[in-house]
Amino acid sequence: MTDEAKTAPADRSLEAKLRRAQRRRSLNAFLLVAPLLLFILVVFAGPILSLLYFSVDDPKLAEVMPRTAEIVAEWDGAELPGEDAYATVVEEIRAAYEDRTVAAAAMRLNYEISGFRSMVMRTGRKIRRITGPPYKEALIGLDERWGDIAYWRAIKASAGPYTTRYLLAAVDLERKWDGSIGTAPPERTIYIDYLERTFWISFWVLAWCIAIGYPMAYLIATTGRRLSRILLALVLLPFWTSLLVRTAAWVVLLQNKGVVNDSLLYAGLTDEPLTLIFNRTGVYVAMVHILLPFLVLPLYAVMRNIPASQTRAAASLGAKPVAAFLSVYLPQTLPGLGAGCILVFILSLGFYITPALIGGASDQMLSYLIAEFATRTGNWGMASAIAILLLLSVAALYPVYRGLVRGAAGFRFG
């Protein structure tokens, strides 16, 4: 028997064994990961999906006044609806008023036209007076606004079960009665302003973080070991306290009779206390302080791996310090800088507590609106829509980050 003949069948069974072993291993691996996968699905994907759902979900009116919703859904909205629509409304408001469910529907209608809520509630209170047809005249008799087609169009817009109104409103748009999309009335076009302000504040926070953080990271990465450890500890120290504590500390420091102002007054640098709190300055100071580590740490990690011989080589080849920095050092730090910038920017887009505690009315960001809608007015649709606006703004930054990192990192370290 030759050697080949002897080993061939053995080889085949060996292959099969190997395949079995690999299958078993990947199954084991999957089972190990499965709880984590489930956790991620429930904790990350779940909230985002529910966010999406809440932002288009619009069941209120249809729950309370289902037949009215059906009728207005069929109505073309061109002119006042007919007698049957009025009859249905009277009947369903009457029933809902007795069941005490009318308020929910009235609240929903109020999103469309302010004042609609009280109008429905008042109609409900007086609905006993309507005893028989013609309902159209009777209803208009109760409140003449029932004769205004705008209110009927509002009912049509609220008929549900799904709506784009929250998403459109989040970007200062609304759907007109004929289905076209146009700008919302001026009293409701605040969201783009908030978005712009959110980006603007984040931009300046980022700019300050770079201006302070870049030299800081450079110092930590290049100085002697002892000083570098101390500096790194100082950068990390704020992480050991909660965001709220740090923010509150800034309130103490920045107020008119706070440490900063007292020191300035004592040093004679200013005659009267500077307004450092409840304005943009305070927000910048506190946010930069809180976000600085997120810029410094990735930068430091990258800078530590750039050998001193890089700048030395540049100098020996005739590059003046500025040229050596711009053409040799800076490009090699771009991956870290990009990562840090994205972290800082994205985190600051979502800031809520700090502007809320330290900023004034005109320093609030999108998260403030979300909190406002979710906790104060209970308008989950609007809160979700703004949250999605924020989510999309962040997602839009991802390609920027990719471009930045890829552009800079066409090379590997080491």
Binding site: P307, S309, Q310, R312, A313, A314, A315, S316, L317, G318, A319, K320, P321, A323, A324, S327, V328, P331, Q332, A408, G410, F411, R412, F413, G414
Partner: protein, 364 residues
């Protein structure tokens, strides 16, 4: 001392200390001549790299002065020194292509685009990398990266090229090949090279002159032949090549020839570079390849009976350990062939060497 016109760099009483207590470089007086290949050779921590860093301007001189072309370098920043440096880890710019790396010094000097690309191409041709201009450094092998570093350091025709253990990261074969290539480049281009290494073989192969450093002090400066054949002291003798050393007392002097009596009572005839007196203790140095085994030893002034302790086969030669004069650590290199192959441990042999190959070293 060479005439001033031949000297490119002169170190004058240069000292360097980092902690204010110990001098890393002490009383350094050294000149680098125009067009020569000077190697600073020494064990790690001997101060050789520090000398290079001071010359390049990356470390300040604590005392003394470095003069380039009769001009003090004291206040000249590194980017104006016009020295090409090849770093230990090459220090190629990872985010730039090979072409951009080599073009860097020319771009910094604001050469017109046309001239830049001509010079870069010539430099890449010189180091045999013509087709790799568009690659990034990490896509190249160690040897290729080394060539890029070389091209980058040479392309702007610097006054002097400094190399800090440039071949340390390469494997043996490639290292030897690059040694020859760098040597050829030096011969072709005639640039001045200051080369730092701890590899004595490298120093001997490549250099015009070798400066041997230990503990911050220059031990000896001379041609490879000089430092090998005529080591100035025990450190040089032991650091470069293999060395058999004997210690004894001088008992007879005839000009430069000395008779030295060992503790065992044997007398060795040796030659001294410096004047010595009777009765002084003397340290002798004998290179293993100068020690002859067998019949060839007959007729030599130093002739001893010895016993073979160990024979190690090295292919081209055998390394033979011998016992003589009460010791068993005498090393001889016997060429492969009839005589060498016949040696076996335990065999009694006759060994000998000529007095001119056995040096009386200066006292340390």
């Amino acid at each position: 001392m060479a005439p001033d016109s031949e000297v490119l760099v002169r170190f004058r009483d240069v000292e360097k200390t980092y902690d204010g207590r110990v001098n890393v470089v002490d009383r350094l007086n050294l000149e680098i001549r125009r067009g020569e290949f000077l190697t600073l050779l020494g064990p790690s921590g001997s101060g050789k790299t520090t000398i290079l860093l001071m010359l390049a301007g990356f470390e300040a001189v604590t005392a003394g002065d470095i003069v380039l072309n009769d001009r003090s370098l004291r206040n000249v920043p590194p980017f104006r020194r016009n020295m090409g440096i090849v770093f230990q880890n090459y220090a190629l710019f990872p985010h730039k292509s090979v072409f951009q790396n080599v073009a860097f010094p020319l771009v910094q000097r604001r050469l017109p685009k046309q001239a830049v690309s001509e010079k870069v191409e010539a430099a890449l041709r010189m180091v045999d990398l013509t087709d790799l201009g568009e690659r990034r450094p990490h896509q190249l092998s160690g040897g290729q990266q080394q060539r890029v570093a070389l091209a980058r350091a040479l392309v702007f025709e610097p006054e002097i090229v400094l190399m800090d253990e440039p071949l340390g990261a390469l494997d043996k074969k490639l290292r030897e090949q690059m040694q020859i290539e760098i040597k050829h480049l030096h011969e072709q281009l005639g640039m001045t090279v200051a080369y730092v290494t701890h590899d004595q073989g490298e120093a001997l192969t490549m250099s015009d002159r070798v400066a041997i450093m230990n503990d911050g002090l220059i031990q000896q400066v001379g041609s490879p032949h000089e430092v090998y054949e005529k080591p100035a002291n025990a450190f040089v003798a032991n650091f470069i090549g293999e060395n058999n050393s004997f210690e004894g007392r001088i008992e007879g002097i005839d000009g430069r020839d000395c008779a030295v009596r060992l503790a065992s009572g044997d007398i060795i005839h040796a030659r001294s570079a410096a004047a010595r007196a009777n009765g002084e203790t003397a340290l002798l140095s004998l290179r293993p390849e100068r020690l002859v085994i067998g019949p060839a030893a007959q007729g030599m002034a130093n002739r001893f009976g010895a016993q073979v302790v160990e024979v190690i086969y090295f292919g081209a030669h055998n390394r033979v350990r011998l016992a003589m004069a009460g010791r068993d650590d005498i090393i001889a290199l016997a060429p492969a062939g009839a005589a060498g192959d016949a040696l076996a441990p335990g065999a009694a042999v006759e060994i000998g060497w000529a007095p001119e190959h056995c040096r009386v070293l200066a006292p340390a």
